[in-house]
Symmetry: C2
Subunit: 220 residues, 2 copies
Amino acid sequence: MKTEKISDAVVRRLPVYLRFLNELSRREVPTVSSQELGQKLDLNPAQIRKDLAYFGDFGRKGIGYDVPYLIEKIRQILNLDQQINVALIGAGNLGQALSNYNAYVKDNMKIVAVFDSSPAKIGTMINNIEIQPIEELIETVKKKNIRIGIITVPDVEAQRVADQLIEAGIGAILNFAPIIIKAPAEVRVHAADFTTDLMSLAYYLDGGKETTNDDSKMAD
Amino acid sequence: MKTEKISDAVVRRLPVYLRFLNELSRREVPTVSSQELGQKLDLNPAQIRKDLAYFGDFGRKGIGYDVPYLIEKIRQILNLDQQINVALIGAGNLGQALSNYNAYVKDNMKIVAVFDSSPAKIGTMINNIEIQPIEELIETVKKKNIRIGIITVPDVEAQRVADQLIEAGIGAILNFAPIIIKAPAEVRVHAADFTTDLMSLAYYLDGGKETTNDDSKMAD
DNA sequence: TAGATTGTTAATCGATTAACAATC
DNA sequence: TAGATTGTTAATCGATTAACAATC
């Protein structure tokens, strides 16, 4: 175990490991090697061993990793050995879809408050949570010990919402709006805008030009 | 302009540039420097210049980049100068939310088919598109020249759906299911599972341990 | 014991940043 | 012209992979 600081690339792989380990656990597989993990997750086994070794000696030479033990350790590393309260800001289509995902709950992440600016929505229930006006954001985040905010408001409102989350002392933000959120260094922000992802995928298409490849016009 | 192969990191930044350039265009800003872009997008100006220079000499020394021209060029690079047909597989909450986003349309990406395995949903309309049974996936992808598939089915079905997309000759896949999709090298797959993202954010919280910081026990 | 697999160091590979000549 | 800013090379930084001694 070292005391270097851990890169974001490493941290982002931990949930991927955890996810698959949970599946192994469900199937009651007792141990797993970096080899097997790498195969299943399309990663280099050395990288997996190195990632895990940043945090401790979790494996056993000649054997591999004990599945339940490694699950426990990764959950500790990710702070998921305690409930993490999450706020959702923006109860539109996407926000509603996310709130319905209760996948987080088993991972100890729970949406405990939902906010929206539309008067029509305020007071209505979404997944057993009453939608609150954004004016109550700061107070509620403090009162309910909310650590992460998920932003699903339109882009023009996103930075304003982020500023309020930051003022309320949020720890991290998952931003679905298609803008770059500005935040102080101590507040981690991840971009989750899938339209950006989708556009980058288009790059890898060969342009659909197979059928329209008319070279005769390219003589100038 | 070089003929090196372009890294995914570069490709993923292009839509971010495009997004902001579109905003500048709306505000009728005629030119922009790498300096300004970097400031707004939290990126190093040298990196932006380098990214763009992979594809051509788009800027003018002493001036910067012409906004409309750069927009046109990036759209060409991303194949977004033509309509890209997209299929959505999985008409659950998330799928419905994504289908309602018509942000893609202005970027020339259009969902032209939606599939689901639930008999109750088949035949119903979602955003003006009739939900089809998954059995029709392969045929429809071919017939409608669909290039990208968005997978929003439950994890146990995701690989099966991907296999069918691949069989139908899809170019790229955006996968929202929390599993690693296996695909041949020529089919690009991006992971878009936000629960993974959310879990990695939890790492950056200081564990809610601010109040439990009892140094007296650390003397060993 | 023999085979397997870790943890870790060293080697490699790739991406970011600094610096600056070219030039608008 | 003087100031600004690109495109590009070189320097730096960081992440991935290979290799292997340690050991179960």
